[in-house]
Symmetry: C2
Subunit: 310 residues, 2 copies
Amino acid sequence: MSLNVLFAASPSRWSQYEAPLNEAFKAFGVKAVLGLDLPPEEVDYIVYAPQSGVTDFTPFTRTKAVLNLWAGVENIVTNDTLTQPLARMVDEGLTQGMVEWVTGHTLRHHLNTDLHVKGQDGIWRDDVPPLAGDRPVTILGLGALGQACGKALVDLGFPVTGWSRTQKDVAGIACMSGKEGLERALATARIVILLLPHTSETENTLDAQAIARLPQGAVVINPGRGPLIDDDALLAALDSGHLDHATLDVFRTEPLPPEHAFWAHPKVTVTPHKASETRPCSAARVIAENIRRGEAGEPFLHLVDRSLGY
Amino acid sequence: MSLNVLFAASPSRWSQYEAPLNEAFKAFGVKAVLGLDLPPEEVDYIVYAPQSGVTDFTPFTRTKAVLNLWAGVENIVTNDTLTQPLARMVDEGLTQGMVEWVTGHTLRHHLNTDLHVKGQDGIWRDDVPPLAGDRPVTILGLGALGQACGKALVDLGFPVTGWSRTQKDVAGIACMSGKEGLERALATARIVILLLPHTSETENTLDAQAIARLPQGAVVINPGRGPLIDDDALLAALDSGHLDHATLDVFRTEPLPPEHAFWAHPKVTVTPHKASETRPCSAARVIAENIRRGEAGEPFLHLVDRSLGY
């Protein structure tokens, strides 16, 4: 008997995901009918993205799991009608893209390439920057993305400190946790990278007080989630000269409205939530594997702890 | 008995190198007097940079080796008065700096960060670039610098092809050599990085014909030496749209004159020969080790083959 898998995402995703999902089902031995419109009571699994329009999970009486297409689950985790297991996406394509974006922007600030990209004015500015070994980087968040980015930066010679809610142990990274650990992790950071999930606990992690702990001239890079930063505190610290620059990929409102102060600020670089994106081919394999696990009675990968929010 | 070591470089280098060299001599058990002004016939070793003013090596009758401060030796290798052994600098600080610069600018072009650095205009341009795995990079030159840069790019997921005069075998890099190998190495390169030494053989390696072999839209990155590229052919290929961009750190004349076409060209980024620089502390240790070797009768490190020119 074949399973029914509802594709609950914005219709524009259907053309990207239909073929990769059916191919991955085949590769993982999952016999399933994938559809955009299936009777809720006949749905076995839901492939989910927030733009789907599905907000009430009550009618999905036989659904065994909701498989999120993206890494972030803040738009669904607080939905009280969701009683089914919820899995996040941990996609190697998404991880790889994030490593590339984070490494690229870290080196951009480390080397100060903007000086040359913007200043092709005939002036030979040949001061050589310090080596990576003299540019400590702190990563807030040591999940799959934070660890992968930390490893890439360690390989390039940066001293990397990592902070997470619970204490972790990651080779090459000075791992810290808790409130006092956050203060120490911020105090040494020439570049701070935000890769925390968005939960009620992490909201405004970088508030005025945390920003004040960063050394003079530090740079903030946020490919995580917009609400991790207190925007007004960030702008104040950039204006006062305490912070040197902020490169932001995520925002409280997306797309970032054209009139937002971040766009025109000379010390802010806005990138349009492109640090990384789930890649259909690799993501489809994660979803197929989770359905295979569900049917085999094995534990789901990347299951969300609803009480923690991620 | 103590050795006499002449520091033959521009006087501004003396303050940078005096302390690190004396410290390194001590660490390597080299008993030496380091000086800016020593009688030529009493000099045992010369620490050399082209700006030193020393052009006639004939009077240095007992000098056992000339130890170049920089990686490039094109300004001294053709000097007929030089009969003493000549060693190039292979400095781990220089290598590390080069890896950072090359990786940073490769990722800059791969991610097209310039689009955002220059275009903070309120327009949400959220096309996601391909992953590094779909962006083949070719490195011309597989010496210490080329190999180190290749390794860093392989670690980040780029498919890397390397080309060198003689066939090499480097883990993770598709190594090619010879004229036909160069043609193949260029044909697949979305990004081509020049790290060849400057010799009569390598002059204009990237001429009109070689540039024509690069795929439409390729990017050229040159942290090697200015004369490796035919400047007019490069400008023509940028203007015709065959090449997408060139990021150049080295030039036939340095500093690059303010009126040079490269400065104002919208598809050229000039950086002021800052891709990497010898770092006094690590370079001093290489020099001390070579003097120790000379005194112990051991072969010098990084000896230049005068017939090859590097």
